[in-house]
């Protein structure tokens, strides 16, 4: 499937600070809400592979629950020496209250 957005969740299911893992075409993706702004990133920390689901989201950063490396949820960039490798980010949109994620759309900034 190309350029397709997949409907994954009701936006209402994801209050600020919450995150939820979803599977799309074999991609393990974390959809989250950072102070009202939705994001989608790979749900596997680039440090030592922990799922990121449930990590505290604050200031536009998600903290990995395992060793605490923080990643910018918009750009995927990690902080510090253990966060050198960025997370993959996915295009996301909200259509009529549903969150939709695309696994193959290039992200436009």
């Amino acid at each position: 499937m190309s350029n397709a957005f997949h409907s994954v969740l009701d936006a209402a299911e994801l209050p600020p600070g919450a995150s939820k893992a979803v599977q799309i075409d074999g991609h393990n993706i974390l959809v989250g809400n950072s102070a009202g702004e939705f994001f989608a990133v790979q749900n596997r920390c680039t440090h030592q592979d922990s799922p990121l689901e449930g990590g505290r989201i604050r200031n536009g950063l998600i903290a990995c629950p395992l060793h605490g490396v923080m990643f910018d949820v918009r750009t995927g960039c990690g902080k510090g020496q253990m966060g050198r490798v960025p997370l993959r980010t996915y295009a996301l949109r909200v259509v009529e209250g549903r969150i939709e994620v695309s696994v193959d759309m290039p992200l436009t900034a």
Binding site: R56, R58, L61, A63, H67, G68, K79, G80, M82
Partner: protein
């Protein structure tokens, strides 16, 4: 020079006064604030200067590695230091890593309150959290082999536990660092025998009784790497003598040479600057309207055309009235009971070893100066702006620190007033030259003004006392 105020150009004649007794001619800070429409609180009506000697201060304390190591042991491991703000760790599991030189402390919010631990794994030493700053976790898991502690510091799991039967969990609790809370700040102290935070703070809690910094939030947080010893950096901020040469633009609106300097106990000192007046150095004192137009208020963008001085009014009155209104509205807080001086002036307290606090409203900063890793000639200077908590609704999350490089202007920081950024740029532009001059100098130490540089002398005296005590204990 102001032609009404005679000032000699060459020092040397004590005119029969005891050392430290001489003051800038003309009105004092106390004279200026005594005429305010809304008069200052009692703590700002007192002055407490003490002559503490006039010998030179040896440059080696700013350059020598040996001295630096002594400070690490006898000052940084012995004193109460502000590690973070409580709002940095609002929820259980939130933590903040505080580092000073090679020391690293992990401050954690737990169910049972705030705790702090030495930030090093009990297996093979790895820092449990690698870098300074905020984070969040439900347990403390070492990134090397995965030994894990609860937030309360109890050993929770060890991979391949069969191989560590000699590890008794009771003996492998994370060692704690003492924690104290005051004014919304989380302080730590690595010395188990140190006095309580409350005793350490001396007069501060009393002075800040009506300036509850716990009722503020962090609006802005910046860090700047300075090419100097941490004391060199800090000492550029605890005197106003440099305003004349370093910040000539501030002479229009700052009572610089008539700043009041006070010393209290071992750990606390302050200086107090009346703004909205002409510098005693100015040849032509400004009109009240000119003063209002040029005084530094921390954020010029908030004031508009209301700044009109009416017949018979002082610049101070007008600025205080306008800021009381616009800042009260901007931050959703009631400033009606706050005096003019608390609104507009620079009220600066110094807490040993490295904290500078401004309880005022328009210049609401906190500074901290820290040695970086093992380099005696580099330090981190941080500025936080603490704004009043809104009476309704939640304050924004505390920002991550914005790091400004040595070459960059403070103006790159979003929300930084350009006029204030210029002042900070001027403040730190001379530091590299000063630090290098310490080494180039034939004269072995710096000479201090008896009055205007008393905070430096007071600070260095306390530093010496800590070092001497430490060395005496061996």
């Amino acid at each position: 020079m102001n032609d009404r105020i005679a000032m000699p150009l060459i020092p040397g004649d004590d005119a029969g006064l005891p050392p430290g007794a001489d003051r800038c001619p003309g009105p004092s800070a106390q004279d200026i604030v005594a005429r305010d429409l809304n008069p200052p609180p009692q703590v700002l009506r007192e002055s407490r200067y003490e002559f503490l000697g006039d010998g030179d201060i040896d440059y080696r304390r700013y350059t020598s590695r040996e001295h630096y190591e002594q400070e690490m042991t006898h000052i940084w491991a012995k004193t109460w230091q502000w590690a973070c703000r409580e709002e940095h760790i609002p929820q259980v599991g939130d933590y903040y890593v505080y580092e000073v030189g090679h020391h690293s402390v992990l401050v954690v919010r737990t169910e049972g309150g705030i705790k702090a631990y030495y930030n090093a794994c009990l297996h093979r030493g790895t820092k449990l959290r690698p870098e300074e700053g905020m984070g969040s976790a439900q347990e403390l898991r070492c990134p090397f082999h995965g030994w894990t502690w609860t937030l309360e510091g109890a050993l929770k799991s060890v991979p391949c536990a069969w191989d560590f039967l000699h590890v008794k969990p009771e003996a492998y609790r994370l060692p704690e660092v003492r924690v104290g809370l005051w004014g919304g700040f989380v302080f730590i102290n690595m010395d188990e025998d140190a006095p309580s935070l409350e005793a350490y703070l001396e007069v501060l809690p009393e002075h800040f009784r009506n300036w509850d910094l716990g009722q503020r939030y962090t609006e802005l947080h910046l860090g700047k790497i300075l090419p100097s010893n941490w004391k060199t950096g800090m000492e550029a901020f605890i005197e106003a003598y440099h305003v004349f040469e370093t910040h000539p633009q501030l002479l229009r609106g700052t009572g610089d040479a008539n700043v009041q300097y006070d010393v209290y106990g071992e750990h606390v000192a302050r200086f107090y600057v009346a703004l909205g007046v002409s510098s005693p150095h100015l040849e032509q004192p400004l009109s009240e309207q000119e003063l209002v137009d040029s005084m530094l208020i921390g954020d010029r963008s908030v004031v508009g055309d209301e700044l009109v001085v009416r017949e018979g009014e002082r610049a101070r009155t007008v600025m205080a009235r306008v800021l009381r209104k616009v800042l009260g509205e901007k931050y959703g807080t009631d400033l009606s009971g706050v005096s003019d001086t608390e609104i507009i002036d620079t009220i600066e307290y110094h807490l040993f070893p490295n904290m500078v606090l401004f309880p005022g409203v328009s210049l609401p900063m906190v500074y901290r100066f820290r040695p970086l890793k093992d380099d005696p000639e580099r330090c981190l200077f941080e500025i936080l702006f603490l704004r009043p908590l809104p009476q309704e609704g939640l304050p924004p999350d505390p920002p991550e620190m914005v790091l400004v490089s040595e070459e960059e202007s403070y103006a790159v920081v979003p929300g930084m007033d350009p006029l204030l950024a210029k002042v900070y740029d001027q403040d730190t532009a001379n530091l590299r030259a000063q630090q290098q001059g310490f080494r180039a100098s034939k004269k072995p130490g710096q000479t201090l003004g008896n009055y205007q540089e008393i905070l430096i002398r007071h600070f260095e005296r306390t530093a010496d006392r800590y070092l001497a005590r430490g060395q005496a204990e061996g």
